[in-house]
C-alpha cells in the first residue's frame, strides 16, 4: 500500500504540478489569482485534514462516497502537486529570458523552446528541492491511516498490539532504506546533468 500510494502520487502529481505552475505564472490575471489561491489553501491546510475532507465531504453533500485508497490518493496528488508547482515555478523563472529570446529569433516555436531548451535546464535546477519533497512524501504516506488505509505503519501497529514495539522499529528501517535508495537515485540524476553549467 505504501509503495503504491507513493508511486501513484508521483505519477499524477509531477505532471499536475507543472500544469498548476503554468497557471500561477499565467498572463491572465483571473487564472493566476485562482491558481495562487488554490495553492495557498492546499499548502495552508494540514494534509491530514485534506485526506479527511476528500474522504468524508462527498458523502456529506450527498455525492457518492469515494473508497479509502482512492480518497487518500486524490488528497496526496492535489497536495503534492501544489508543492511541486512552486518548485517548477522557481525552476522556470530562474531560466534567463535570453534563452527564450535566442530560441525565438532562431524561428523556434514557444513549445519547441520549452521542450528543447528550457525544460532540461529546469530539471537540472530542481533536482535537489524535488528530492526533498519526494523524500517527505515517502514518510507522509503514513498519514493515509487516518482514513484506515492500511499502509505500513498502521500494519506494524496492528502487529504491535499482539507483539511488542519491534514491528514499528522495522517500519522505521523500511523508510530509511526507501529514502536511502531515493537519495542515491537523485544523486545519480544530478550527476547525469553535471556535464554542463548554467
Amino acid at each position: 500500500m505504501t509503495c503504491q500510494l507513493f508511486a501513484l502520487t508521483l505519477i499524477f502529481a509531477l505532471p499536475l504540478g507543472l500544469i498548476i505552475s503554468f497557471g500561477t505564472m499565467s498572463k491572465l490575471r483571473p487564472l493566476r489569482t485562482v491558481m495562487k489561491t488554490v495553492v495557498w489553501i492546499v499548502r495552508g491546510v494540514p494534509l491530514m485534514l485534506q485526506i479527511f475532507i476528500v474522504y468524508y465531504v462527498p458523502g456529506f453533500i450527498g455525492l457518492e462516497t469515494i473508497d479509502r485508497f482512492p480518497a487518500a490518493l486524490i488528497a496526496f496528488v492535489i497536495n503534492y502537486a501544489c508543492y511541486f508547482s512552486e518548485i517548477y515555478r522557481a525552476g522556470i523563472e530562474a531560466v534567463p529570458v535570453g534563452q527564450t529570446e535566442a530560441g525565438l529569433v532562431l524561428g523556434m516555436t514557444r513549445y519547441q523552446i520549452f521542450t528543447r531548451v528550457t525544460l532540461q535546464q529546469v530539471i537540472k535546477r530542481i533536482v535537489p528541492p524535488m528530492g526533498n519533497e519526494i523524500i517527505t512524501l515517502v514518510k507522509d504516506t503514513a498519514l493515509a491511516r487516518v482514513i484506515s488505509v492500511i499502509e505500513i505503519t498502521r500494519k506494524a501497529e496492528l502487529f504491535a498490539d499482539k507483539a511488542i514495539i519491534w514491528p514499528l522499529f522495522y517500519t522505521a528501517l523500511f523508510y530509511l532504506v526507501f529514502v536511502g535508495a531515493l537519495t542515491l537515485l537523485f544523486g545519480y540524476i544530478e550527476k547525469s546533468q553535471s556535464y554542463y553549467k548554467i
Binding site: P96, G98, Q99, E101, A102, G103, L104, V105, L106, G107, M108, T109, Q112, R116, V117, Q120, Q121, K124, Y195, Y196, K197, I198
Partner: protein, 272 residues
Amino acid sequence: MPILEVNNLIKNFGSTKVLKGISFTVEKGEVLAIIGSSGSGKTTLLRCMNYLETPDAGSITVNGEPYFDVELNKSLSEGELRAKRLHFGLVFQSFNLFPQYTVTDNILLASLLLESEKLKARLKRKEIGKTEYRAEKSRMRSKLMGTASALLEKVGLTDKADFYPCQLSGGQQQRAAIARALALTPDILCFDEPTSALDPELTGEVLKVIRGLKSGDSTMIVVTHEMEFAASVADKVIFMSGGVIEEQGSPAEVFGSPKSPALKSFLGKKKF
C-alpha cells in the same frame, strides 16, 4: 531597392518614449553601425526588428515586402510571425547559447527543427512515402551537419565543435553564437553590442570574425561601442540620442566632421 526600410518607428515603455520616430534604410550588402550612449534606444530598435518588442507605430519593410506595421501585426499567425523573423538574425550581448548543447548542436538545433517540420508536412500531405521520408531526413541531417562544420570553420571553432558553452571563453562563445545565427541564413544579421561582455583581448577575435563576414551580399546591422571598428567596417553610421537619429552618414562624415553638439560631445568623451 533597399533591403530594409524603417519608417517612423515609435516605441514606448509605459510613459517612457524610447523610440521617437526612427527612419532609415539599408542597402543589400551594407554594414550599418549604430552608435550612441546607453539608453538612447539602440538595443530597443534591434529588438523591434527581431519581433522581440512590438513597436507602437511605424513600419518596417524588408525586400520591398511589409515586415511590420501595427495593423499587419494584429493579423499575423504564429507561423507567419516565425517566417518573418527568419529574415533577421540576432547576436546577443550575453551570447545566450543553449548551455546543455554542444557548439555543433547549438548551431544545428533550430535548422534541424525547421527542416524536419517541412519534411513532416510533406509526409502528411502524402507527397513522399515513409521510406523516402527517412532517406530525406538523413540526407537533410548530413547536409546541415556540413553547413555547421563550414560555419565553425568560418568562425575558427572547428576544434571546439563538441565542446559545451561552459568550456569556452567568452570570445569563443560569442563566435559560436555568430555561427548559430548564420546557420539560418538571415537576410540581415543584427549584432547587439557583441563585444560589450568581453574583455579587450577577446573583443579583437570577435570583431575579426564580424569583419570577415563583410562581403558582397551579407547585410549587417551592428550596435557597438567600438568606434574604431564602426569607422573601419561600416558603410553607414547612425548616431542615436534620446530615441531619435541625431545624425547619420558615412563613417567619414560622422566621425570626421560631426555636426550636432550631442555627437561631438559623445565622440569627445570616447577619445580618452
